[in-house]
Structure formats: C-alpha cells, structure tokens
C-alpha cells in the first residue's frame, strides 16, 4: 500500500509540471526554456506600458492600431528596431526614428509579439543574390515608390523613404510586411533567391558607381540644374565682370 501511494505521488508530481507546461505554451512549436519565458513576460510588461493603449491589452487591436496576432517577430523587430513604433500619433505614417527601446527591451518585446504567432525574423544573403536580377525586380516592384536609385519618393498621402539606412534584414522585413501603404510580397511572389537579389541591388545603391564625379545626392536633374546656374553660370558671370567694365 505504501509503495502504491509513493508511486501515485511520483506520477502526480510529474503530471503537475506537465499540466503547467501545457497551459503556458499554447503553440506547440514554441520551446519554452525558462529564459525565454522570462523574456516573453518582460516583453508583455513593456507591451502593457507602451503599446497596449493603441494595440489593446492583449494585442487584439483597436480602431487605432491593428491586431498583432500573426504579425510575428518579423514585424515587431522591424517596427521597433527602425524606431517606427511607438507611434506618437495614430494615423500618421510610421517613419524611421532613433529606436525608443534598448536592445534588451526590443528583444523582450519581439519575444512577446512573436509568442502570439506569425513569421520569424527573415534571413537574407545579398552575396548569394544576382545583381542584375535584383536591378530588374527592384525596377518592376519598388522603383515606382522608392525611386530607381532607392533615394526615396512620394505616393499621394505617404512618403516612400530612402533605403540608405535600411539593413538587408530590414529590407526583407518591409517587403514581407508591407508597412503603412507599401504592398506586401510573400515568398510565392518574391522567393528567397529573388529576395537575395533585390537586397543585393539595394546594397549596391548605397555604394553606387559614381565615376562621373560628385553625385549631388543622386536625385537627378534638379540639383544638376542648380549646379548649372549657381556653379557654371555664376563662375562665368564672375569672369565676365573681371573682363568687362562696370558702371558707365
């Protein structure tokens, strides 16, 4: 009898943690180590402080901000690391800013939002991409808003930012997410190989072949016109004044 009781207690002791585990981790893919669980908890605390007012107490969304279930670590990392979130005024376009949160805080928030389900942070390898393919794809899908040289552009009602500060991972994240008014592109439309190529092209625009000289910001005929007037013509006007007479 005593052996039975000890066996039952032992089995009971094993079942309790199992039951507890079963409740804390609804997504069977998430392996909850102790550290990770603490990170998710820390993230939830930060979330309640800084994000819940718009995204809802349980990230279920309000009329001011979307539901974050399914957004995944991919989105959280993108928005937090580029400082687009927290957004001061809902409805304004989220734009790149110095990040509000420290590295640890970002990781905690990313862990929390990631625990709600959704894609992980994408990997990308520009070195494996084809530059010429990237040029073609970027022109077809991206140049209309961001400009052929990725220096940024205008959509009615929004800004398509310059990609100068965007890391390869951030470019990949934006392509998959489709932030604000940017269309999203999943891997059926742009697969990993094409993604690598596009990112390779974006990296190239940061070190463009400017063998013609000073590129004046790479935004085309407007600064060129100013240079013609204020550098070329002014130089010649000064020389004319040297050569000719002034006054009567």
């Amino acid at each position: 009898m005593r052996r039975l009781l000890i066996l039952a207690a032992a089995i009971g002791a094993c079942l309790v943690p199992a039951a507890a585990l079963g409740q804390a981790a609804p997504d069977p893919a998430v392996v909850a180590t102790g550290e990770e669980v603490m990170q998710v908890q820390a993230g939830r605390t930060l979330f309640l402080e800084g994000c819940a007012s718009c995204h809802g107490q349980n990230a279920e969304g309000t009329e001011r901000a979307p539901d974050l279930h399914g957004a995944g670590a991919q989105s959280a990392d993108f928005y937090l690391r580029t400082g687009r979130m927290p957004l001061a005024v809902p409805g304004e376009q989220p734009l790149r800013n110095p990040p509000e949160y420290s590295e640890d805080e970002i990781q905690a928030l990313v862990a929390y939002v990631g625990s709600l389900g959704g894609p992980p942070i994408p990997t990308v390898d520009p070195a494996a991409g084809n530059l010429s393919e990237g040029e073609r794809l970027f022109t077809l899908f991206c140049a209309g808003c961001h400009g052929k040289l990725a220096k940024g552009g205008v959509v009615t009602g929004a800004l398509a930012p310059s990609l100068d500060a965007a890391t390869p991972v951030q470019v990949a994240q934006a392509i998959r997410i489709g932030p604000f008014v940017m269309p999203p592109f999943d891997d059926k439309l742009i697969d990993q190989e094409e993604m690598n190529s596009i990112v390779a092209y974006v990296e190239k625009t940061k070190h463009a072949d400017n063998r013609g000289g000073w590129d004046m910001g790479g935004i085309g005929p407007v600064p060129e016109g100013m240079a013609a007037f204020f550098i070329g013509l002014v130089a010649l006007l000064v020389i004319s004044r040297l050569i000719g007479e002034r006054g009567s």
Partner: protein, 301 residues
C-alpha cells in the same frame, strides 16, 4: 579710369603683365601635357577633366591678363552708321515699281502665282505624311491585344496563377503572346487588402477574389503607373489606389479607376478578370476604355 602713370611704372607694369601672361601659357602647356599623359595611362574622368579644364582656364588667364593689362579697354568713338538708307529705299521702290508697273494683268498674274505657290508648297509638305500611319490617333479596336480569354503573363512570360497574389500585393502583367511594348499591353494586377468588401456586385463580378487589373499606362501623359498604394491598416491609412509617379494622378481601384487626385482627365481603363479552370488569371473582356493619353477620339467607342 585711372590717370596716366609715370612711364617707368607703366613699363614695369606691362613687363609684369607680359611675364604673367607667359606664366599662364606655360601652366596651360603643362596641364595639356598632363592631360595627354592622363589619357594614355588612366581611365580617370576626374583627372582628365581637371587637367584639360585647367589647361583651358590657364589659356583664359593668359588672354585675360593680356587683354586687361597689355591691350586694355579703350574709349574709341565711332559714328554709328545708320542701317536704314532712305534714298536707297526709294530707289529700290522705284525699280521694283517699274518692273511690276509694266504688267497690265497684275491681279491675274499675282493671283495665279499665289495659287501655284500654295499648291506646290502643299505638295512639298504632304510627303511628311509618310512619317507615320494616318490613323485617328489610335489603333483599330480589333487590333488591341486584350480580349475575352487572353491569359495574363508576367514580364518574363510566365502565366500568373490567381493564388500568386496575397491580399495587398500587385504584379505587372501583359497579354500572353502580345508585344509588351504596345501601349495597350501592360496592366497592373493587384489584390485588394484584407477584409475589404466594399466592391459593389458589378465590380465584384470582374474582380475574382478581390483581384483587379487596370491599364498600367497613365491616361494623363503616358507614364507607367508603377505605384500601388495599399493600406496595411485601413482605418488609419489612405485608401487603396494606383498612383502615377510623373504628376501623381491617383486612381481609386475600388471605383473602377476613378481619378481622385492629380491632373488626369480620364479614368483608368480597367481589365475585367476571371480565373480559368487551371486557376490562371485570364482577361474576361477588353479594357474598359482606350489606354494611354487622351486625344480627339479617345472617348469614342
């Protein structure tokens, strides 16, 4: 105007000027040689530009110094010869008058000459008509590439399955087998963002699963409409629209391509879509209007 200087100082000044001129010319010579060397040895645009540019500027310096110091500006007075010459005008009038006065049938001759001139002038200009086809500013509607049953392909020629597009995405497309460069060919295929059900039944019939297609050529000035504005969170972002990057004409995709901002005077032609049995996106008819910029008969069917 400076007072005349003592001859000794004047001579020294001229001497300095001559030396300066010579020095500039020598610099020009050196720069010219440098340009030759740079061209042969390197492919450096900056080095070549600097050496050639400085060579020319040095010659300019030499000529300006010489032109200001050695041969300075003077105040020579010249009478301005009048251009008009009334006696000559009278003489010309008289001679021409005599030549013409001798004709008795002046009106007939001048009239006939005028007719001949106009006709021959016209005949010489008319061959310019061979420059281009004499169409009413647009192609024959039966020649247009989009018709019911024509499948859509991407810019590499691959067919486009309907499930290629997630909600909010777009892809540029062309008619299978057609010339991509023809103005009527390129279309923007887009899928409306998640949860969007604001299409009326007529609209929804030609937009299977919320996938729409419009001409990719702007009706304002012919640029490619390369922007699809798609809100990630519709309550807090602008509505879905196609935007042209040239003058920012904005077309509402949920209202059949209606112009909602910008200078375009004509709505964007829409391509009705259907999905065939293999799940491939296919045109369900021709474009709803003529693509490209407006001209006289663009609204005539």
């Amino acid at each position: 105007m400076t007072d005349p200087r003592p001859p000794e100082e004047e001579r020294r000044s001229r001497d300095r000027a001559e030396l300066a001129t010579a020095a500039f010319l020598l610099v020009a010579a050196l720069a010219g040689v440098a340009a030759i060397v740079v061209y042969i040895v390197t492919d450096d645009t900056q080095a070549l530009g600097i050496s050639l540019g400085l060579a020319f500027l040095a010659v300019a310096g030499a000529m300006i110094v010489a032109g200001l110091r050695l041969y300075p500006a003077q105040k020579v007075v010249e009478e301005r010869p009048p251009a008009a010459d009334p006696p000559a005008e009278a003489a010309v009038e008289q001679e021409v008058g005599e030549a013409v006065g001798g004709l008795s049938r002046r009106k007939l001759l001048f009239g006939a000459a005028g007719a001949a001139g106009a006709a021959i002038g016209g005949a010489l200009i008319v061959p310019l008509g061979s420059l281009g086809p004499f169409e009413l500013g647009g192609p024959d509607p039966d020649d247009l590439p989009w018709k019911d049953g024509v499948r859509l392909v991407d810019d590499q020629g691959a067919l486009i399955p309907a499930d290629l597009l997630q909600q909010g995405a777009f892809i540029p497309a062309f008619p299978e087998g057609a010339d991509k460069r023809e103005l009527a060919s390129p279309v923007m295929v887009l899928r409306l963002p998640e949860g969007d059900d604001q299409l009326d039944p007529e609209q929804a019939a030609i937009a299977p699963r919320g996938i729409l297609a419009f001409s990719r050529i702007c009706t304002h000035a012919g640029c490619a409409i390369a922007l699809y504005r798609n809100p990630l969170f519709p309550p807090q972002a602008p509505s879905p629209a196609l935007v042209c990057p040239c003058h920012y004409s904005t077309f509402d995709v949920r209202q059949g391509g209606k112009v909602i901002f910008g200078p375009a005077g004509r709505d964007l032609p829409q391509l009705p879509l259907k999905i065939d049995d293999q799940g491939i996106l296919t045109a369900a008819g021709p474009l709803s209007g003529k693509p490209g910029p407006s001209y006289l008969t663009v609204r005539k069917t």
